[in-house]
């Protein structure tokens, strides 16, 4: 079954990568403002771009042209962050924030470094304050995952956090709403480092997902919630034994616009490119990650 998804998955991520390359000015951060004045959403989009490109680099299943496009996008994103200096200034301004470290960790995965920021992160992870952040459990797991990427000790035991997540509670499957679904997907992403360590997710939760993920994939496909579907397909790729869902991949490929943009849901893309970018950049980035991981798991390219 896994071979059946290679073609649509590769098509989806390659086309999405093309759209991101053409739309990359949408990721540009405002100039002439202080680090604190940069809108959170703008910084978040650059962070997500860096994350997606770091996974393409890590999985190494992209063709030469796509790999080159990914490197250029990663370089662009790192440039927007002034080679890490912007994150460093943000961290100096707001020592309690975990955001700069989380963003930095993605770029470290892609091979970028900013030594002063790394030193700052090591210091902050060791503080008592890092153990008692008032964050949702799956957001705490993001901090733990970033620390792991930077080679730092986990500020909190991830398995303790896991018990407090939606997924960790193994809820009734019909209680899944959009917020729970995104919490679930990110719990899996962080625990498995986007599939590189499937065993990071305990066996009983893998079994829980094998039981209910087919239902959620089916319902989300039917409702054309493409962004969430792509995230659930990433979850599948993070499991020890992925199911692959060839029909869902075909539907995702059909939903993708000819120019490579994956619509967030049934919303028609606005004619204005800036508006279209704001609404649909995330789903297109998720498509890149989902396609990359699906191909990687299917061809067994990961080492």
């Amino acid at each position: 079954m896994s071979a059946a998804i290679v073609r649509p998955a590769r098509l989806v991520y390659s086309r999405a990568l093309g759209w991101l390359g053409r739309a990359r000015s949408g990721f540009a951060l405002p100039e002439g403002v202080t680090a604190a004045q940069i809108p959170v959403q703008a910084l978040k989009s650059v962070a997500e771009l860096g994350l997606a490109m770091s996974l393409i680099e890590r999985e190494a299943v992209a063709g030469a042209e796509d790999a080159q496009a990914a490197r250029q996008l990663a370089e662009f994103a790192w440039g927007q962050l002034e080679g890490g200096a912007l994150l460093y200034r943000q961290q100096l301004n707001d020592p309690a924030s975990s955001f700069p470290m989380e963003v930095y960790a993605s770029f470290v995965r892609a091979g970028y470094r900013h030594r002063p920021l790394a030193v700052l992160c090591a210091h902050l992870v060791g503080l008592r304050g890092a153990r008692v952040r008032e964050l949702a459990p799956h957001d705490q797991l993001a901090v733990v995952a970033a620390a792991r990427q930077l080679g730092l000790p986990a500020p909190v035991d991830p398995l303790v956090l896991l018990e407090r997540t939606w997924l960790g509670g193994k809820p009734e499957p019909w209680m899944l709403d959009a917020a729970a679904a995104y919490a679930l997907t990110h719990t899996v992403f962080h625990l498995t480092d986007f599939g590189v360590d499937p065993c990071g997710l305990p066996e009983e939760l893998q079994e829980y997902l094998h039981l209910w993920l087919p239902v959620w994939v089916e319902v989300v496909t039917e409702t054309k919630a493409w962004d969430l579907l792509a995230e659930l397909l990433i979850v599948d790729a993070c499991l020890t034994a992925p199911e692959n869902y060839p029909q869902a991949w075909e539907r995702l490929a059909q939903a993708q616009y000819p120019d490579g943009m994956l619509p967030h849901c049934t919303t028609q893309a606005p004619r204005d490119p800036e508006q279209a970018f704001r609404i649909h950049y995330h789903s297109t980035l998720v498509a890149v990650i989902a396609g990359t991981l699906a191909v990687s798991r299917s061809v067994g390219a990961r080492v």
């Binding site: 009734e172 019909w174 899944l176 239902v215």
Partner: protein, 247 residues
């Protein structure tokens, strides 16, 4: 549906089905120890809608007698026979639809036989299931297709009715659960209740790996969140009774 609704003769088959389903649900739940088909539909000004309701509910209309052990009265038997005579199984081009009718009539025959009423009938269940309904049911169809099919065959989920479908359900509990979860997420409460009923049939003997502990939660959820219409209420009542009797 309240007592006033029951007293008012329904003007359509759909309304008649609701009235009868409500009455059966109450009887199955133990709230009406004097239930009888004739007593519910016999006095209506338009007898045809009552017979149609009996035909639509099929074996389920006789469920109170299965659970209480009370014998069918002669008039109840007569109402059932009249419903079968007036509304014979329709011809259906779609093989899946045709199979549903064969199965529901087979189930009705099984229940009547269990209640001591012998009717001339043929054992059609094997043929019904072996025939390809366009969904590969006789093989090993995916959970989505299979659970949709057994949803339509929920009238077979009665203690007096065994057969190949029951055996498949017993083997594929996880797939029933998947279908049920999907129905809940889609707010398809009738399908959810029908699949819960299938699960209730085997609740006492479910393997530990199945999520049987969710069954009580799903039934309660359906009751509290959906203001269930009579046919959904009937499926829930049957499921609850099956769970109780299985313990």
């Amino acid at each position: 549906m309240n007592a006033l609704d029951v007293a008012r003769p329904p003007g359509s088959v759909a309304a008649a089905v609701d009235v009868l389903a409500g009455a059966v649900a109450r009887a199955v739940s133990g709230a009406d120890g004097a239930f009888g088909l004739d007593g519910v539909v016999g006095g209506w000004s338009d007898p045809v809608v009552g017979l149609a309701a009996v035909r639509v509910l099929g074996a389920d209309a006789l469920a109170p007698f299965l659970f209480t052990g009370r014998p069918l009265s002669a008039s109840d038997v007569e109402v059932t026979r009249e419903a079968l005579r007036v509304f014979p199984a329709p011809h259906r081009e779609d093989p899946g639809d045709a199979r549903v009718w064969r199965c529901r009539d087979w189930a009705l025959g099984e229940v009547l036989a269990h209640l001591g009423v012998s009717e001339p009938r043929t054992d059609q269940t094997a043929a019904a299931l072996d025939s390809d309904g366009g969904d590969g049911f006789a093989g090993q169809p995916p959970w989505l297709v299979w659970s949709a099919t057994v949803t339509r065959l929920a009238m077979l989920a009665l203690p007096a009715v065994g057969g190949p479908v029951r055996e498949q359900v017993r083997r594929r509990q996880r797939d029933i659960w998947r279908g049920l979860a999907r129905a809940m997420l889609r707010h398809d409460h009738l399908s959810a209740a029908r699949l819960a009923r299938w699960l209730a049939l085997d609740a006492a003997v479910s393997p530990e790996s199945s999520p049987e502990s969710l069954l009580g939660a799903v039934l309660c959820h359906l009751e509290l969140f959906t203001a269930p219409p009579p046919r959904v209420r009937l499926e829930i009542a049957l499921a609850r009774r099956l769970v109780e009797d299985g313990q």
